[in-house]
């Protein structure tokens, strides 16, 4: 691999890692500041889980369900990548969501639209981390009788070319 190739990929890794995370953090901060109930619930979870700052480790924060729900809800409402990656329908054409698409057509999932579609989400413009708490998803009958479609949320993209830094 040439130095130019190393440079190209290093540049992508630095920018892909560092343009996305601040967007998510800014988004979740904005949403929490505007939604004091959720903010208090999250504060409560964090304050009751740790006795001191040095207990806050990578493994420990992954055990905070409400924190993760807030991050997921922010990934839905303010996705760092707003549109999907544009593909060209493969040779011979392909079936996409029940429709035949001729080869060479450009096709994509628009992430922002997917995440705010009322066909996928109950009240898509409302910040509701609870939709990502499994017990609630299973128990609560949404007012419209509809459920959130979790499969719609792919903020890290999908398939063999999804985000390499996804955990």
């Amino acid at each position: 691999m040439s130095t130019t190739e190393l440079e190209g990929t290093a540049h992508i890794v630095v920018t892909a890692g560092s343009e996305t995370t601040p967007t998510l953090l800014s988004g979740v901060t904005n949403l929490l500041v505007r939604n004091p109930d959720q903010m208090n619930k999250l504060k409560q979870e964090i304050r009751s889980s740790f006795n001191s700052a040095d207990e806050i480790t990578m493994a420990a924060v992954n055990r905070l369900p409400y924190l993760l729900a807030c991050l997921n809800e922010s990934l839905r409402m303010f996705p760092p990548a707003t549109h999907g990656m544009v593909r060209e329908a493969a040779e011979g054409g392909v079936q996409v969501a029940g429709h035949f698409v001729p080869e060479k057509s450009l096709i994509e999932c628009q992430i922002y639209s997917m995440n705010h579609s009322s066909a996928n989400w109950v009240e898509p413009f409302v910040f509701r981390p609870e939709r990502f708490l499994h017990s609630v998803v299973n128990d609560e009958k949404a007012p419209t009788g509809k459920r959130d479609n979790m499969k719609a949320l792919q903020p890290f993209q999908y398939g063999p070319r999804d985000c390499v830094g996804r955990k």
Binding site: V13, P22, V86, A97, E108
Partner: protein, 234 residues
């Protein structure tokens, strides 16, 4: 929103469809059997207009490489994201977070502070971490409490990139190389390339840094020299 009005499939340009049906994730980005050989799985290729039209002469990178080459790059990078590597990186990451929190606490307790722009602060801490994990050299954003020009430039390049792609949707392909030549000669872009080259050289020289996001690329670099010159690399 167009999708609320027209439904889960919207034709957003004469040859371009946008989907909000969640099944489209798998159908567009997943693997499917090749029509020519049943045993082979293929993907819908990345659209050249979005991935290759602005840098047609550069070697392929992680985003636009064809599947075989992409798999190699990805394998090399996965090394730095393995659990073992993440554990090794945690101390370094925590160091930047501690600095971030300490600096914000100081701001919060200072009578002079009126407004803190968190977007800037989040950018600084994350860029410093990425600089350290990729180049073994932070950008010094937190320390100096300001953007590094590398960071600023990236933000400035996003919009022109989209504009250049959009121009091609209007059939004005001929204008793109001309604009690119003009943009490529701009001082800022030359500085970016120089800085990137300096940092990559610096990281290669520090070969012994372990478990960062670059180590996997270096480890596999040697074996790729032979692969790159063979037919695998188009």
């Amino acid at each position: 929103m167009l999708h609320e009005k027209y439904g889960p499939v919207v034709r957003i340009a004469p040859n371009h469809l946008s989907f909000t049906d969640s099944r489209a994730w798998r159908d567009i980005y997943g693997l499917h059997p090749s029509p020519s050989s049943k045993n082979q799985q293929i993907e819908n290729p990345k659209a050249p207009i979005w991935y290759r039209s602005l840098n047609p002469d550069d070697p392929h990178d992680l985003l636009n490489a064809p599947p075989e080459k992409h798999a190699q790059l990805r394998k090399a990078l996965a090394y730095g994201f393995a659990d073992r590597a993440l554990k090794a990186q945690e101390g370094r990451i925590q160091g930047y977070i501690d600095l971030f929190i300490a600096k914000l606490q100081k701001k919060a307790s200072s009578a002079e502070t009126q407004v803190v722009d968190m977007v800037g602060w989040y950018n600084w801490v994350v860029f410093d971490i990425m600089g350290d994990l990729v180049f073994a050299e932070p950008f010094g954003c937190l320390e100096h409490e300001r953007d590094h020009f590398f960071v600023e430039l990236f933000g400035q390049m996003l919009l022109p990139g989209v504009v250049l792609v959009s121009i091609q949707y209007l059939g004005l392909m001929w204008a793109v190389p001309w604009i690119l030549r003009w943009v490529g000669g701009r001082k800022a872009l030359v500085e970016l390339k120089t800085e990137l080259g300096r940092r990559v050289k610096g990281r290669i020289a520090k070969g012994e840094v372990v478990d960062d996001l670059f180590e996997g690329l270096l480890k596999h670099r040697e074996e790729w020299v032979s692969i790159s010159s063979s037919a695998v690399d188009d």
